[in-house]
Structure formats: C-alpha cells, structure tokens
C-alpha cells in the first residue's frame, strides 16, 4: 500500500514539484510522438518570415534600420514571432483538446494534482519548448552576418519568460471560449496585432503616438527590444522591460489558474 501515514494524516502542500514534474512527464511522453512535426513548423514558420521580409525587403526597399542591416533587424525581432507562435497557439489548442475532447485533465485531477499545479506544469512545459524554438531565428541570422555576443546568452531566458506569459494567456483563453472556432477571434484580435506591432519588421517609433503607447504594453515588443539589446548592446531600460515580462507572466499565470478552476471544478 502506498499510503505512508495513517488514515487522514497525510499532508500535501500547494505547488508540489512532484505533481508539476508528473504532469510535465506526460507532456514529454506525448511530445516524443509528435516532436518532428511541431519542430518543423515552429522552426520553418519564422524562417519563412525572416527570409521573405528580411531578404525580400532588404534587397528591394530597406538597406538598414537604426544603423542595423535590415536582415539582422528582422532576424532579432523574429525571436518574438517564434515565441508567440510556439506558445500562445499550442497552449490554446492543446489545452482545449485535452480538456474537451481527450478528457485528459479529468484523469490528472483524479490524482493528487491541483488545478494550480496542472496549469503551472502546462505553462512551464510550453515555455521551455518555446524558449528553444525562439532562439532559432537568432541562430539563423548568424549566417547573415549577425555577430554572436555574450549578451545573447540571456535571450533564452527572455524567451522563456515571455512564452510563460503567452502560455498562460493561451490556457486562459482555452478555458474561456465555448467552442474551438472562437479561437479565430482570439487570433485576429490579439495574436496577429501583437505580432505585427512588436517592432519586428519596422521600428514602432514611426507609428502614431497612440499606437506607440499601446505597443509599449505589448510583451512581444519588450521581448524584441531585449533581444536587440542582447545583439547590439543593452540599455538600462531593459531591466524595466524584463520586469514587465515577469509581471506579464505572473498575471497570466494567475488568470489561467482562475479560469481553469472555473472550467474544471464544478
């Protein structure tokens, strides 16, 4: 018998590492069965953007932006694109499918795992994957003359924290929508605008003032600036940018837990 204490005597804490590791081990076991397709799309998609915009526009319209060759400007910005595509979308669809179609969460929550641990594990796993995929555009840009810098070693951390935030956002959305096709609204209203107004393809200081203010609240913009800081030199504001990303991750984490609690516990 597994019970180590007497009846009613066993105590368990919140956010137990064993519970989080157990949920993540399920994700790893599943990932082993589909990693090729996911990795292919997560790597190829930002690369297509990088080549289309970076090479296409630099060959025809734009040589450089803010003194940076345009292909390198886009390459560093594409980290953010890779991060949002590999965090917000998988967390939205993955969470929805596991809850509504596969009944996976019903089985996990029958074990000694709370919604808080379940959501935390899902977010950590997606953020880990996303931090790896997010670095691909940066590495590819090395082949177009971007010099490796020590500051770039922090990029996986920036990508991880941002991906945590977007994973939380995705989980919260999955727990909120009634039908899977409602993700079209989420993508059109949030994901696409955030991705386009992040400063990836053009500097946001050329935009109208109101849009610039909104863009400052875009976590992807902060990530883009941090990655460019890693490549071309950090500034003191980057501490604030990183603090903003941490706050974003913390807020979406709690919102995701709240929404999932409402969805999973009657």
């Amino acid at each position: 018998m597994s019970a180590e204490a007497g009846p009613g005597r066993r105590t368990m804490r919140r956010l137990e590492p064993a519970a989080i590791a157990g949920v993540m081990s399920r994700e790893v076991a599943n990932f082993q069965t589909y990693w090729k397709g996911t990795t292919f799309s997560s790597v190829l998609e930002p690369l297509v953007y990088l080549l289309a915009f970076g090479l296409g526009l630099s060959a025809t319209l734009v040589d450089e932006v803010e003194g940076i060759p345009y292909i390198q400007f886009v390459g560093t910005g594409m980290v953010a694109t890779a991060v949002i595509f590999s965090s917000a979308l998988p967390s939205m669809f993955g969470t929805f499918v596991k809850h509504r179609f596969q009944n996976t969460y019903e089985a996990i929550l029958a074990a000694p795992v709370d919604v808080e641990e379940l959501v935390s594990a899902e977010m950590l796993w997606i953020a880990t994957r996303s931090a790896v995929y997010g670095c691909v555009p940066l590495v590819v840009t090395f082949f177009w003359g971007l010099d490796p810098e020590l500051g770039m070693l922090l990029v996986p951390i920036f990508a991880f924290v941002t991906a945590l935030g977007f994973a939380g956002f995705g989980v919260a959305m999955a727990a909120t929508v009634a039908k899977i096709d409602q993700f079209n609204y989420v993508t059109a209203l949030f994901v696409t605008p955030l991705f386009l107004v992040a400063g990836t393809f053009f500097p946001i200081d050329g935009l109208p003032e109101g849009v610039q203010i909104v863009a400052q609240a875009n976590p992807l913009h902060q990530l883009v600036e941090l990655v460019r800081g890693g490549a071309f030199g950090y500034q003191w504001e980057d501490i604030l940018r990183f603090a903003f990303l941490v706050a974003f991750a913390l807020v979406t984490w709690r919102v995701a837990i709240h929404q999932m609690q409402k969805r999973l516990i009657d």
């Binding site: 066993r10 105590t11 157990g22 029958a110």
Partner: protein, 296 residues
C-alpha cells in the same frame, strides 16, 4: 472507520439538483454498487469524491480526510477508473502507466509499471502505442492505471459501459480479483448484472438520493418477494392482465414487450394468467419498481 462517509450532501447545477441530500457510508473492504438510471446523480457523486465537484452543502469524508479541503491527500490514496477512455493514445502502454505512477508519487515507478502490466496482461504489448490495442486491452489498461499506486479505495465509474459481453466479463474478473484482495470499491453502474455479480451491497440511487440499500438478496426479498411472473402477449391483452393483477393488489412493471408481475407467489388463484412464465425475482425487478426506469 468508513472509507467513504457522505452526510446530507447537496449539489446543484443551476436549476438542476444532481445530488439531493445524499447520505452514503461505505465501510472498508466492501464493494458497494451504486445502481441508478442515467441522471440519477452517480457521476456527480463520483466527481464530488475526487474533488472535481464541490458540494453546495453537507459533509464529505474519504479515508478520514475531509473534502474538499483535504481532497489532495485523499486522492493520493484512492484510485479512479473513469467511465470514458482517457488514455494517451499515441504514447506507449508502459509510458501511460509510468506517467500516472509519477503523478501518484510512487517511489519505484518501474516496479509499479511491471505490476500493472501483469495485472492487465499486457507485458508483451508494453512498448506499443495505446491506439494499437484492442478495446478490451485498453479497458484493462485503464483499470490497471487506476491501481498503479495500490490504492486503499477504488472508484469505478461505469467500468464496463458500452463494452461487448466478452470484454465486460474480462473486466469483471479483474474487479473480482481486486475485491478478493480486500480493496474497498465504490462502483457506479446502471447494469443490473454487474451490480449483482460484483457488489457485496447495492445502493439504489434515484434523483440524487439513495432510495434503498442492502445485499442484493435482501433487497430482492424486501422489495420483490420470491417470484416474478412474466407475461408476453399483444399490448391490449397486456393492458387487461395488468389491470387484473393490480386489482388483485399485485405490483406490475413493464419488461420490454412483456409485463412482470412482481411477488407473484402472493397472488390468489386466477390473478396470474396461465401463459405466464414464473421465475425467481431479481434485482432488476427491484430496480424498476423503485426507480420506474427500464433496466439495462
């Protein structure tokens, strides 16, 4: 100490009262069959016990832990076999078990997986993806997954619903083995035969309440007497016979294309038609009399 104690538990979903002042006590070491028609509140009761539903009022205690506050340690010591197959279909059989061994904090994951593979008779399929298994193998694996941590209490939620008779019999054998080892089992079902074969005691649940409880034989004696007479005839004739039997103070229930006159041993001469087939009373008679629902 009882493994499960529910006192005056109420659970509503908007205007619907799924569990309505439920009182239920399951002593350690028995198999209790929770028998009821669809919508009786069985699945909600199971969800209350796993902390996936929170009661509006009442007291719940599982293995000595108060719910919902101590639901997590209670879940660590109970196993759940769900009604729906929620195995990870692309993952191997052994990885499915290993994941749940970790979730249940089992120290020797490898040994637990081996034990479950033996139990489910799937040692030779351990490295195959679940979607390569037959329906029966998947149900055995689902049962074994719920036992990966050798729980003191097992909740079986409609364990054989939708299965063909051969697979159902296989699962009954496994559940019978579990019973023989002294594990406490709460099994919800709407299959009469399942309850009769496996349960030490049966609690009939209807509209969110337990309306009767006891050993199957005692329930039959108490509610249905010794004999039931079944009559097959055209509908008009059945209606006439029903009227006659009820006029003689007998209880009559529908039985598909027939009527069943329950407690027929008490009938006076002439109340039971000659063409009736007399058989021993069953739990099905009790179920239909108490709930008014056709049995499966």
């Amino acid at each position: 100490m009882a493994a499960i104690e529910l006192r005056n538990v109420v659970k509503t979903f908007g205007p619907i009262t799924a569990v309505d002042g439920l009182n239920l006590e399951v002593p350690e070491g028995i198999c209790l069959g929770l028998l009821g028609p669809n919508g009786a509140g069985k699945s909600t009761t199971m969800r209350l016990l796993t902390g996936q539903a929170i009661a509006d009022s009442g007291e719940l205690r599982v293995l000595g832990y108060e719910l919902p506050g101590q639901s997590k340690p209670a879940r660590a010591e109970m196993g759940v076999v769900p009604q729906l197959d929620n195995l990870d279909v692309d993952v191997t059989v052994e990885d499915n078990l290993a994941v749940y061994a970790r979730l249940y904090r089992v120290k020797d994951v490898g040994a637990a997986v081996d034990r479950c593979l033996d139990l489910a008779r799937l040692q030779d399929r351990r490295r195959e993806a679940v979607d390569k298994l037959s329906g029966g193998m998947r149900r055995r694996l689902l049962l074994a997954r719920g036992l990966v941590h050798e729980p003191r209490l097992v909740l079986l939620d409609e364990p054989t619903v939708g299965l063909d008779p051969q697979i159902r019999t296989e699962l009954w054998t496994l559940i019978g083995d579990l019973k023989a080892r002294g594990t406490t089992i709460l099994m919800s079902t709407h299959y009469i035969e399942e309850a009769e074969r496996l349960a030490d005691e049966v609690a009939v649940m209807h509209k969110g309440k337990i309306i009767s409880r006891g050993r199957p034989g005692d329930l039959i004696a108490q509610h249905a007497g010794r004999q039931t007479a079944e009559v097959y005839a055209p509908p008009q004739r059945l209606a006439e016979l029903r009227q006659t039997a009820e006029g003689a103070g007998l209880r009559v229930r529908p039985a598909g294309p027939a009527i069943a006159i329950v407690g027929s041993e008490q009938a006076e001469d002439g109340a039971i038609p000659e063409e009736a087939v007399v058989r021993a009373a069953t739990l099905e008679d009790v179920f239909v009399l108490l709930t008014g629902e056709e049995a499966e």
